[in-house]
């Protein structure tokens, strides 16, 4: 009995011993936390390269999407953040981190040497991480994160299928009516779906809805709605919601679209079972892996409203911030600078097939990827808007549109529901 207890205690001590030993190792390295599982091995290669060049160890740790935000929150509360980390969320969350004093202001380093670092970036990527003077988040103006890639979310079409229904593969539909017409033809004549998208991931619904909101009512009225000056029951908003009703009624939506995650949607488009799709530039990689012989292209979103341009979400894909709590702060920034140099960006582009965040890598970017940066004058993104919609209202919009698609509500009813939530949230302020 005594021997058993003794053995047990020895074992426990040895376990604790292991942990102390590990703590000692952590002294001289830069730790980076992120959620991009598919880039982890590319990052690790870069880390090795950096260590060979400078002798400083960099350790990338990846935590899957679902747990990442919880972990960062918890680490922030415990003041235990790593030197570099990504922020998984919208600009509001970003601003909270800044206001809590957790994130470094990088403006000084960006502007050093005649704005050298700042100018190396593609404008829209950096704008993502910048807070302007007088911004609505209450954050002192500055640049607070470094983008490491760029992305855009666009309409895609399958060239071979388009040709099969008798439309020239180089002239995809440019307005909404033609879009619906072509999609219907594909359904009727070819037996494929007209349109597929990963709407199980709600934010893609919001993305499409806002693209067309800009198109139908223009950006002034759009922002006025966010400020609470225009109700969601306005006829222009009902027009936006009706677009989804029209898609439903014309039978062009892929079956099961509202519980589909993005991967499944990519699968369907890659195997030629849908004429149109709506996806981000990360899809290039997936399509290539699933079906290298797929002939597809990007097209500007078919215009539904005549008065204003339709917008496209684009900006930095992922960015890293520097923790203010860390003592190895200067090394971390040095590493970031190195990471965003052309050589490293080109490496990432080739390995992970994402768009670079710095200028001058164009030659290495494949044709299909470059397409996602087409139509750049229409780029926008919630992170670039003067203010963002309350998250509960966004949820209501997404659920409301889903209900329209399954036929449970009409656009008018959804507008009323969304507006109710908006009123409630405005009161709370």
């Amino acid at each position: 009995m005594k021997r058993f207890l003794f053995a047990g205690v020895c074992l426990l001590i040895s376990l604790t011993g292991c942990s102390f030993h590990k703590a000692a190792e952590d002294k001289a390295e830069i730790v980076v936390w992120h959620w991009m599982s598919d880039r982890q091995s590319a990052f690790q290669e870069l880390a090795k390269k950096y260590e060979a060049e400078t002798g400083i160890r960099v350790r990338f740790e990846v935590f899957p999407h679902g747990v990442y935000s919880q972990k960062i929150n918890a680490a922030a509360a415990a003041k235990d953040l790593p030197e570099l980390f990504g922020i998984l969320g919208d600009k509001k969350l970003f601003s909270s981190f800044i206001k809590a004093g957790l994130v470094d202001d990088l403006t000084f380093y960006m502007n050093e040497n005649n704005h050298r670092w700042k100018n190396s970036f593609i404008d829209i990527s950096l704008a993502f991480n910048t807070f302007d003077k007088g911004n609505s988040y209450g954050v002192p103006p500055g640049i607070y994160a470094v983008p490491i890639d760029t992305m855009g979310i666009q309409f895609l079409y399958n060239k071979s299928l388009l040709a099969k229904i008798g439309v020239s593969p180089d002239s995809p539909p440019s307005n909404w009516e033609d879009f619906i017409k072509d999609a219907k033809l594909a359904v009727d004549k070819l037996g494929v779906s007209g349109f597929v998208c990963g709407w199980g991931e709600n934010w893609l619904i919001y993305c499409l809805a806002t693209d067309y909101a800009f198109n139908i009512m223009g950006q002034d009225k759009f922002f006025a709605t966010l400020r609470g000056e225009v109700p969601y029951t306005d006829h222009d908003w009902i027009k936006v919601f009706s677009l989804f009703e029209e898609m439903r009624d014309s039978g062009i939506l892929a079956p099961g679209i509202i519980t589909m995650n993005n991967k499944e949607a990519e699968q369907i488009f890659a195997s030629g079972r849908s004429l149109f799709s709506f996806n981000g530039s990360w899809g290039v990689n997936t399509y290539k892996q699933m079906n290298p012989s797929l002939r597809y292209s990007v097209m500007p979103p078919p215009q539904a409203g005549r008065d204003y341009p339709v917008k496209i979400w684009a900006g930095a894909g992922s960015s890293f911030v520097v923790s203010r709590l860390s003592s190895r702060h200067y090394e971390a920034i040095r590493f970031l600078k190195w990471l965003t140099e052309k050589d490293q960006q080109v490496f990432l582009v080739e390995k992970t097939r994402n768009l670079p965040s710095v200028k001058g890598c164009d030659s290495k970017v494949s044709v299909s990827m470059k397409q996602f940066l087409k139509n750049s004058k229409y780029f926008t993104h919630p992170n670039l808007w003067p203010l963002n919609e309350d998250s509960r209202v966004v949820e209501a919009i997404n659920i409301g549109i889903e209900k329209i698609i399954i036929g449970e509500k009409t656009p008018q009813e959804t507008a009323v529901d969304v507006d109710k939530v908006k009123q409630l949230r405005m009161e709370r302020k």
């Binding site: 982890q40 972990k71 415990a78 991967k263």
Partner: protein
């Protein structure tokens, strides 16, 4: 004569029923194993429902070589072993106390354990992280094992208590007359008798710890400490842009083997355990 025919007929129906349900239970395993033997592009096109064109063990090899499954496997074995050991000892001690010993607050403490089974605390990650950091157990094996022990405490204590309640007091009294203190009674009399309850506790907790990954991701910040499930997920998502489903399946197949072994070993005890009226409320 007619009776016998009737009986065989019923027996036949029963067996057909049993077999069809059994088939539906084995089907997922077959699907998983089938998927693990094919290539990922094939899986993506047929969703895993047709036989592979070429059988290959490529996924298994990849899982061990590139996915470092060996290291994660060892970690999980470590955590499961010590976690279950810890739970069995700690909760049987506690179960014994709540069942047989007298002290102020006994019922209150037991009620607390029961209530914990029912009240989810969604935002617990933050305080947990802060607390663990405070005592220096963050990112340590010990910290994780303790957290895992906590997860299984309530149910295990409940099981042990109800089991101990059933054991006749004479054996205990006899031991006490012989001069045994409480601890000796627990070790020499109660715990051995509770072997069947231990069987249930072992299986239940082994399953939980083995399949766990959320707390591991939260508590650990170094890949080298992560358990098997995390290693599998890592590896499955490592292919750029596309989940390597077939490799995941290979990993999951490997991962389910130890648990099945544990179950096979323990299930005899469970049957005996509940047989002796263990889980009777």
């Amino acid at each position: 004569m007619k009776d016998k025919a009737k009986k065989t007929f019923y027996l036949l129906i029963i067996h057909i029923f049993l077999i069809s349900v059994a088939l539906s239970c084995v089907f997922p395993f077959l699907w998983m194993i089938n998927a693990s033997l094919k290539s990922n592009t094939e899986f993506v096109s047929d969703y895993g429902f047709s036989l592979p064109h070429h059988f290959s063990l490529v996924n298994y090899i990849a899982a061990f070589r590139d996915g470092h499954l060996g290291m994660f496997f060892l970690n999980s074995m470590l955590y499961t072993f010590f976690g279950v050991l810890g739970i069995v000892i700690i909760s049987s001690l506690a179960g014994y106390a709540v069942s047989r010993l007298q002290f102020r607050g006994r019922n209150f403490i037991f009620a607390l354990f029961l209530a914990a089974m029912m009240i989810p605390i969604p935002a617990a990650f933050v305080p947990l992280y802060v607390l663990l950091k405070g005592v220096g157990l963050l990112n340590t094996r010990l910290g994780y094992i303790l957290a895992m022990i906590n997860v299984g405490l309530s149910l295990s204590i409940y099981l042990y208590k109800t089991f101990f309640d059933q054991i006749p007091r004479d054996l205990e009294d006899a031991a006490r007359i012989d001069g045994c203190g409480k601890l000796r009674i627990w070790w020499y009399v109660m715990f051995p008798l509770a072997r069947p309850a231990t069987g249930v506790v072992v299986i239940f907790n082994a399953l939980n710890v083995w399949n766990e990954f959320v707390l591991a991701l939260l508590i650990f910040s170094k890949r080298g400490l992560m358990p098997l499930q995390v290693g599998l997920m890592d590896f499955a998502s490592s292919g750029v842009g596309l989940t390597q489903y077939t490799v995941l399946m290979a990993g999951l197949t490997i991962a389910s083997l130890p648990i099945i072994v544990v179950y096979l070993v323990m299930q005899k005890h469970i049957i005996k355990g509940i047989t002796s009226g263990a889980l009777v409320g």
